[in-house]
């Protein structure tokens, strides 16, 4: 039984620009077979029995809800900001819990070891104290004032800098990060990770970006993002257990993991346990 709270959330199921006519994209959402296709110019998402799902199109992607949407899809105001370049980065399948994929996206301490010489490098491994809150008004998890030393923070960066980040969990399987923009010190680069839960142990991940960068060719921007995410993939496929443990005690967090602690607490509180392990095995 999938909890109603899980069914009533929005999940990404396709890149809007890539949806074609029937049979379109045959995929799964929370274990149910679905098809995403174009019908008379409209994007339709339907179950195997032909019934249609609630759909919305935002941030370059098609979002669907298997139940009754509890609320509108979360806002990313930067998506409508003039001058920003919106980049759809395609999809990557990962054999892991959708929640582990999000949690990894919220993590900085792995940069020197997994994204070596790009997002981090020894000996600059320290994660300073940062702030984390579950914002009651928007019902989101936020981490702010996150600082980390990076050898090459973005495609457009040259040389090492201390980068500031903000992280935001906007939906159970969608998170957005804001990081210092090398081209525009007063603005943030925005990178989203939209995770489609196919099953509790299999997901498809759609990275997405909204950047101030007119110079870098599209293919370079996409490949930089894909390079980073694919470095994470072999980690995500090798965490044991595959499901994200929500009970404290199964894994050992430290101060650097405050975002992960808050994310797990938030999931548990809201009953969003699809892809989670509740009882220590």
């Amino acid at each position: 039984m999938i909890a109603q709270a899980v069914l009533n959330e929005w999940y990404p199921v396709a890149m809007a620009a890539q949806v074609g006519a029937w049979p379109g994209r045959q995929t799964q959402l929370l274990g149910s077979d679905i098809a995403v296709f174009l019908d008379a110019g409209e994007i339709v998402v339907q179950r195997a029995d032909g019934s249609a799902l609630a759909v919305c199109l935002r941030y370059g992607h098609v979002w669907a809800c298997l139940g009754t949407p509890a609320h509108d899809l979360f806002p990313i105001p930067e998506a409508d900001q003039p001058g920003r370049r919106l980049v759809d980065c395609g999809v990557v399948r990962v054999k892991c819990s959708p929640l582990r994929a999000v949690e990894n996206f919220l993590d900085i301490a792995h940069f020197p070891f997994v994204h070596t010489d790009v997002l981090g490098a020894e000996p600059h491994t320290e994660v300073g104290r940062y702030e984390v809150q579950i914002r009651e008004d928007s019902d989101e998890v936020w981490a702010t004032k996150v600082h980390f030393y990076q050898p090459q923070a973005a495609k457009s960066a040259s040389g090492g800098i201390v980068t500031e980040y903000m992280y935001r969990v906007a939906a159970p399987t969608a998170a957005v990060l804001y990081k210092t923009c090398p081209n525009k010190p007063d603005a943030w680069d925005v990178i989203g990770i939209f995770v489609q839960p196919l099953t509790e142990e299999l997901c498809e991940v759609w990275p997405w970006m909204a950047l101030f960068d007119d110079a870098t060719p599209q293919a370079d921007l996409i490949q930089f993002q894909q390079m980073i995410f694919l470095q994470d993939r072999s980690i995500l496929e090798n965490q044991i257990p595959r499901l994200l443990p929500l009970d404290p005690g199964k894994e050992i967090p430290t101060q650097a993991d405050m975002t992960s602690i808050a994310y797990r607490r938030w999931l548990k509180r809201k009953g969003l346990t699809y892809g989670a392990q509740m009882v220590a095995a």
Partner: protein, 203 residues
Amino acid sequence: MSGMWVANGLSQDLPLGVVMAGSWQGAELAIWRSATGRLSAWNDRCPHRGMRLSHGFVRGETLSCIYHGWTYGTDGACSKIPAHPAMVPPAAIKAEVYACVEADGVIWVAPAGTEVVLPDLSGLVAVRSVTVQADVAALTRGLPGFVQHGAVWRGQVEGAAVALVVQDRGASVTLHGLGAGDRVRLSRWLDGVRRLVEEGVLA
């Protein structure tokens, strides 16, 4: 108890400073050799976020996890958390340690504290480990004339003594082969054994 010891590879395949994956019954393990040659076998799961330690890296007498670099000494205790360089890790952060020994060129693993009782394989030379997609019961087909003593199957190949130490991994078995004959011939013979056993499984 000799039955508690499970063969996990040949010494020659785990040089100094290398980590590999292993198994003990249903448990998945990380087995590694330090710079000075000390062998360790741990549960293949980092206490931090569950990453497989067999993907990690060995520096000196420590094994580090590839995910966040948490570093563990040969006793399994965490000695360093790179995200908090000034912090001394609490003693509770510890990899789950198994007993690991090697004898006659074979690496063996058992639960910590198990008395060391191993089969005598002296006089034989380690050849190679071969994994067969079959269960232990299917092995007889590929090894006619071999006699089984516990985990060890003994027989003759072209007049030379051969011993195969069986690592039962459920759906598959790994045969750690030792012999008195020419290693190249024994290596090719092992490929033949695998073919024979697997064809029997398919038939």
